[in-house]
Amino acid sequence: MKLKSLLVGLGLLAGTTMVQAEDPLKIGFVYVGPVGDLGWSYEHDMGRKGLEEYFGDKVKTTYVENVPEGADAERVITQLAKAGNDFIFTTSFGFMNPTVKAAKRFPNVTFEHATGYKQSKNLGTYTLRTYEGRYISGVTAGMMTETDTIGYIGSFPIPEVIRDINAVYMGAKSVNPDIKIKIVWANTWYDPGKETDAANALMDQGVDVLIQHTDSPAPLIAAEKRGLRGIGQASDQSKFAPEAHIFSVRDDWAPYYIKQTKAVMNGTWEPKDFWGGFQDDMLTLASINPNLPTDVRAKIDATQAMIKSGEFKPFTGPIKDNKGNLVVPEGHTLTDVELAQVSWYVEGITDEIPR
């Protein structure tokens, strides 16, 4: 009896190891935009391709693009799980609750949700320290502006965007005490038409350097037309505005996707809330324009080096909000949990967060 069950057990074990050796790990990706958005979803898809390149036949990836963040998301995620995917990345905030529901339904599938805050036994979260790139953008914009006015095209007033506006302003202020920031909310992540309107509205108000939290190259193109400057978002957008483009802060998801896939293959995966930045090679400065003055270029390199080495963290106190409250005490650096809840503008931003 014992022997028999042992044999059966060994057989099963041999069976599973054989399956593991033969079958590739199936990995699914859910994108909110089209892979051709040249921004957020495009970079996730580049990450997927990087993953395929790294693992070759050992993985098989599938993606679904343009998935609406409503009732459809849960179906798409479920269908990816039903189709035999072992590991599923859902890459937009609006997929959070659908991913939570799917993770409950498929306990043997591993899920990772980008930019959310809910974890469970088989669901982890990951996000970027985009504020690091914003701080460098702010420093650069603060040096480049001639009108002392920089513009920010916001997508939605969520903590990530509020945090990044603060990082830009703090960066700019560190090199230019007279800096003013103007903010326009596009209420979209990707809409070239609206983004162009927002860019023009900002430039009409004296803004001469644009920073955007939306994904299309439209604001850069608008800046190029007026002979002003802009910073690219999420992917290398230099080719859309050869003169205007200062640099792009590129998201690079491949290192993370590779790392987590290894963990799933080795059985060491654990649900975590992971934040990746310059130190993790998940953020990079792409195509720094050779037409920048040498002092600006030197400052960019120096700031990036300080952030990459971990020597400098933008949200280190003392920081006051624009109502005069001390929000980060002296000597304290915001933790990831605190960073996720930033809902104030730093002192000096003469604007209100839309409620």
């Binding site: 051709g36 609406p68 409503g70 609006g94 007033p157 809840q341 809902s343």
Partner: protein
Amino acid sequence: MIRIQARTEPSALMKFVSPLLAIVLTLIFGGILFSAIGKSPVQALQVLLIAPLADSYNIGEMFVKMGPLLLCAVGLSLCYRANMWNIGAEGQLLAGALGGSAMALYFVESESIFALPITLLAGVVSGMVWAAIPTFLKLRFNSNLILTTIMFNYIALYLLIWAVHGPLRDPQGYGFPESAMFSDATLLPTIFESSRTHIGILFALLAGVVGWFILTKTHLGFQIRVFGADEPAARYAGFHGKKLSWFVMLFAGALAGLAGIGETAGPIGQLVPNVSPGYGYSAIIVAYLGRLHPIGAIIAAAFMAVLYMGGDLAQIEMGIPVAVVSMFQGVLLFFLLACDFFINNRLSFTNQATN
């Protein structure tokens, strides 16, 4: 020389043949399209049109997708029959989602059995109010209903976005634009175990039958049909155009509002910025595919639901890009509507060239 001639009587034969002709044309086009991108046309068509009905989960999801389309399309069918060009089902749906969700959030701690009916009623009334304003503007000031209803779609969308960023935002949601999850007392009960199919589909089917009954079995429906076919004749017969206009618009608004709250209190379970992936606009196609007949709308809504789901499955199963899927869907709908042209028109071939 080929000429288009209006038929004196709609062709009974073409009424039947037209959809078949459209399907044959689509299959030919699909064959060419999928071969051109190196995918098996047979497998592609199977995944696009048959796989969505292949198992119980998928059939359940088809009902989830079909419900809101059908609710909106039944209302629109009656509107269009009465020459009320209501393009505002999307806005009425969003208004219903917003009003109903506000009520659901009021009941977020409640376990009362009245919570759900009151929530649904709030959605219905909100949809009706949203339909009433453009109707009033048209009847009182003779404004263009097409334009005002489109404008009201945008207003509803921005109201909803404002609400999820402000008063209805989840206080524990880290500032993300989503409401709290609704209490079970305000969620639509599901019909089958481990499926998202909820009783909203029963409301939708009931609406189809009621719409059919009104249109074909009642004096009111007779008036609507006469009014749409020949307005002067209807007035001569003493029918009250205003009353009919009010009726069809409020009916459509109520159903669209129900569709909206059915989404947030159904598969989504909370108010999110992306309640609808354009159901109100797709419902216009559904209404015409169903030849402005409420029972036809049931078939058309099921068909559209299959088509949408097939699009996701084609990406998951075969890696067909969403752009190709959308092109195929667009061509299919074009053929279906274009072939209906031959019900009331015919081609006549003459030897004479007319100059």
